[in-house]
Amino acid sequence: MKIFAGVVPLVILLVGGLQGCSDPARSAALDALPDDPTPEGPTHRPGQPCVLCHTSGGQASGAPFLFAGTVYETNDPKSPPAANVLVQVVDGEKGTSSVQIRTNAAGNFFIRPEDWSNSLGVFFPAKVQIFREDVGPKTMLTHISREPSCGGCHRNPNKKYVKSDLLGTVQQIYLRTAQ
């Protein structure tokens, strides 16, 4: 009984301590995400802020991304994803580091640290351009100051986000304006 009495407070302290290590901002952002039935993999959670999990301390920290996002065919919230789009990210400050990567069937793309040309990392601000042979190049109007998840700002209003979450956001990344 004495051993048991000594272990219980220890377990409580340990559990409490571990809970205290979680990031409440990240937890709140994750809780706000819509559900996605797609199994985990390169095509899951399209349109969502990928680097919430794919980063140090995240649920997918084993597969970290420098940048990740989803491209759609049009700006219509019901638009299908745009596959095979070339995404080019350029290190805005130095202008020397860059990467080109293609979107997959879900419109998702992700840039891993080993894809990036500079082993020192990204020097923000970064600039982005998307390109597909049948559409031509499209350049992002602003630079990226620090957000590695495109879905952190680009939101599809049909994805069941609460209205207040859409304030301070911009529509999904798309290739063409819907007719």
């Binding site: 109007l141 602003t142 100051s145 304030l167």
Partner: protein
């Protein structure tokens, strides 16, 4: 009255005499005079019109006001603009980003945000025609002077955005505005770089 009762009474009075000033002091400290509603501090701020027309706001919108930095409602320096955060137009509603040019209301909000960062310090700088502008957080943070690397060091997560001197249009834009005559050409070149 017995001797014992007299002694007890004397002790009570001595205690009362000792504690009364203390109690009075505590009670009256909490009763400060009513604030004078007519009293105010007059601030001197840079020109509001130039902030909008010379492109100071537009430069800040492009350089600082992206949605992942100062285009967030939680920031002390909150920047609204066409390509970033839009000012709410009603209950839980806003003009979508990139759908319309920056509105007068947004320019006004940006101005208020900038001049409210350090109003007293800003007043000193403006009163001295921009002398000491380098003391302002608006400049220090944009320069990205980091603690330990510079005696004026401040933490700026966005790093260095402008460089001190006549070769940086962003620096010229901000400082010329603080000096009283915003350099529209510099502001225009600074914003077009982004």
């Amino acid at each position: 009255m017995s001797t014992r009762a007299k002694q007890s009474s004397a002790v009570k009075w001595a205690l009362f005499g000792a504690l009364a000033p203390l109690v009075y002091g505590v009670v009256t400290t909490g009763c400060a005079s009513v604030p004078d509603e007519t009293r105010f501090t007059r601030l001197q701020v840079p020109d509001r019109t130039q902030f909008q027309t010379a492109g100071v706001s537009s430069f800040l919108e492009r350089r600082c006001g992206t949605l992942d930095c100062h285009g967030q409602s939680s920031r002390a320096l909150r920047i609204y603009g066409q390509f970033g955060l839009r000012s709410p137009t009603g209950l839980d509603a806003a003009v979508p980003s990139n759908s319309a040019p920056t509105t007068d209301q947004e320019y006004a909000s940006n101005f208020q945000s900038v001049v409210s960062l350090e109003p007293e310090e800003l007043t000193r700088v403006v009163a001295n025609k921009g002398v000491g502008a380098g003391r302002l957080l608006l400049i220090l943070k944009a320069l990205g002077y980091e603690p330990g690397k510079n005696e004026e060091g401040v933490q700026h997560k966005g790093g260095s955005l402008i460089k001190q001197g006549a070769n940086d249009y962003g620096y010229i834009c901000l400082v010329s505005w603080l000096e009283g005559s915003a350099d529209a050409d510099a502001c225009g070149k600074a914003q077009s770089a982004y």
